[in-house]
Subunit: 449 residues, 2 copies
């Protein structure tokens, strides 16, 4: 059945109040699919649909929706039913959801929840959302090293409700320190009376609770893990991070890089309202407008040169544009390189010299090309001035696109804020100064035009 | 121990030929860590190190290295030992590795391998690397629906060597069609005599073998799976794709988007040689150089206007730059939106009108701002000309940054090739035509300067 057919059937069941048939249909669907149906379902059916679901099903559904729809559902459910659903949600998702609400609402919900669940969620809400602590869930299963396989499996059965998305069990010692890990597969192929400490893997890779989420993602990606334990400074196990959260981080970070590189403002997607999108884009544009005027004031300083050799203007957009383009290219290499590489002193020096050579090679090629074009179009003197200028501006532009983001990175600033438009606008200024500087030096020869 | 301490110890063991001690050290390390050590190990020790490893360990190590180092290891090992290692490697990694070699070398290695392994690898090499077939491994464990849990676990034990990175078992019927899935957790909490068909989940989400890898990544990400089965048109199970490969795809695709958006050329990282990097960047730059000259020829058409009102030039870089910037912003929204959204007619129309409104809002704000600045700096007529021009060019630029990539996408071309620099350069041309067009219309008034 296609999604449309499912939707039609679902509306029919709702209208006829066939709860059993609806339940049977939902049983065969993944939470993601149920959420897709819920989004397509007309508003007027939402309330009835929610009354037909068990708290468990609502918990699954709510985790797939974005925060606006989550909050809408909580309002429809009322405090009492909401708190039942919240008891069943993954703690990390719940903490994110609560963080969207007002302080009074948060307190209201937390009070209605079970004490131990409420405490667990509150402890998660204290972590910076961009760190390991903000990503982790504290619903996980730990076992002791002196357990047998049988005891471990029994514990797993007791906690079956939240073991679904877990694939490793973490082992702790008497002092609650993390000492090992066993996978479900290890348990399956071991003998039922084997001791956990004999089958576990001792060298557990873990991440500290304050590690940046990008670093967490990199660690999981490098080791091909599907989960990683989070520990405090004393190596006490605090929670786990699963790979599905990491994929979300990777996508979000890539989007953020692109947003910054294009100075397009945070979180603009196809649904964002025009007014909101404009408000997010304008600060950058206004800044760039003022920097753009600096280019204008540079030109006004060379007014005399320009009035005498108007043909100089013909090459101005090309020179400024090319300098910006090569800068953007270098910037992209640096910004994405940082995602996968460690930036030590040696790497930086190597990279800057590589880009210097790239700038010279690109500059020579384009410089000779434009010398020929300029000579044919206007005359050999102008061809020479434009060619030499392009050689120098391309070297400058390439280095600026490399050194500015590297410098920002070393200063602890995200280098992607040295966005394409910013580098482009700065390179406009550099290139105009070089171009008109050289042209003014050759003014007497150029006037022979 | 830090990596440096491990490395020093490792070199000591190699010099003293202490194979046992080295083995003990490696036992406690993850393949990724071993690969890191191998990369830092001076070249002269590589040969001895490899002779100290078992084929199993080399297979783990080789999967963590990039293709240059993989091929180097194969050369050092020679055909016979290489083929042993290849028999132990994951088939999808091996197929990727072999695809890097010459046809004769491939044949040589395949001949030396076990027949069934060789066949499996060859069948993988036939798929387009950017599709589900190119991502999947055909080393996986299937079980039949009439198995008991005990039989399933026994099969798992028999194939323990490659069940390590697998977390679900896929269930097939008599005709080898995919009919269900059970997780290791399901097996652990079930009774040993339960029938698989009673505990399995029937509605398996699978992907067709020719599905694009980006689509595969999106599916796994949406459902929070850690593996997904790959089937042919008859629903016969062909292989599985695991989440670690999907993370690599997500990172690679994001990098490709950024490469294209910045027109920076394919596969340039910190290690790329300057000559190679220049060669990859130049084609775009030369193209943009010629487009940039078009701007120049437009200006030359307005030479007369310019000679009479030189002050017009002061605002030229700002207007061209701003038009490019807003275009880049819109482009970024479109390119990343495509990653997560389906582009139907309705979405496209909605988006274009949204961006039109954004263009107008941005245009009005910046237009009024520059009118005030222009009036103060030069005079009210020029302020008016520049303000109106900026309003119109910002609307044009915003729409160009939206419509061009959408059009390319509908034509089946990757919209990211409408790179930032290309949009910027095209917007240069649009903006100059608008600006000088308006200025020429107001020439008489402007000459009152």
């Amino acid at each position: 059945m296609t999604e449309d057919q499912l939707l039609v059937l679902m509306i029919k069941y709702l209208k006829d109040s066939k709860r059993g048939a609806l339940q049977q249909m939902l049983d065969e669907l993944h939470p993601y699919d149920v959420a897709q149906l819920y989004r397509s379902l007309p508003d007027k059916h939402h309330h009835k649909f929610l009354t037909f679901l068990t708290p468990d099903q609502i918990a699954d559904l709510i985790q797939e929706l974005d925060s606006d729809m989550q909050i809408e559902i909580l309002h429809r459910l009322g405090i009492e039913r909401s708190s039942k659903v919240m008891n069943l949600m993954d703690n990390d998702d719940l903490a994110d959801l609560l963080n969207e609400l007002s302080v009074e609402r948060i307190q209201e919900f937390l009070d209605a929840m079970k004490d131990d669940e409420s405490e667990k969620v509150q402890s998660l809400m204290g972590y910076d959302p961009e760190t390991a602590g903000g990503l982790m869930t504290n619903q996980f299963i730990w076992i002791k090293e002196d357990y047998t396989v049988r005891q471990a499996v029994d514990k797993l059965k007791d906690y079956a409700s939240f073991s679904e998305n877990i694939y490793y069990l973490y082992v702790i010692n008497e002092e609650k320190k993390l000492v090992g890990v066993v996978s479900y597969r290890d348990l399956l192929i071991a003998h039922i009376d084997d001791k956990i400490k004999d089958i576990m893997f001792n060298r557990v890779v873990s991440v500290p609770v304050d590690m940046d989420q990008e670093e967490v993602a990199r660690t999981i990606e490098r080791y091909d893990f599907i989960a990683i334990p989070v520990v405090d400074q004393q190596n006490t196990l605090l929670g786990i991070i699963t790979v599905d959260d990491v994929i979300d981080v990777v996508i979000r970070e890539a989007n953020e890089d692109i947003e910054k590189l294009s100075a397009s403002g945070k979180d603009i997607d196809f649904q964002t309202k025009a007014l909101t999108a404009s408000a997010r884009r304008l600060p950058w544009l206004v800044l760039l407008l003022f920097i753009g005027l600096v280019s204008g004031s540079i030109i006004s300083n060379f007014e005399e040169t320009l009035e005498q050799v108007v043909a100089l203007i013909f090459f101005m957009p090309m020179i400024a544009g090319m300098t910006g383009n090569t800068g953007t290219q270098s910037l992209a290499v640096v910004v994405r390189g940082i995602v996968t590489q460690n930036l030590d002193r040696k790497t930086i020096i190597h990279l800057v010299f590589r880009e210097l050579r790239v700038g010279i090679l690109i500059g020579l090629t384009c410089g000779v090309l434009i010398f020929v074009i300029g000579t044919i179009w206007i005359n050999i003197t102008l061809g020479f001035v434009v060619g030499v200028s392009l050689l120098l501006t391309l070297i400058t532009g390439t280095l600026a696109g490399t050194i500015i983001p590297l410098f920002l990175y070393r200063m602890g600033v995200d280098p992607a804020v040295a966005s394409g438009p910013l580098i482009t606008t700065l390179n406009d200024i550099f290139s105009l100064m070089i171009y008109f500087g050289i042209a003014t030096a050759f003014l007497t020869q150029l006037q022979g035009l």
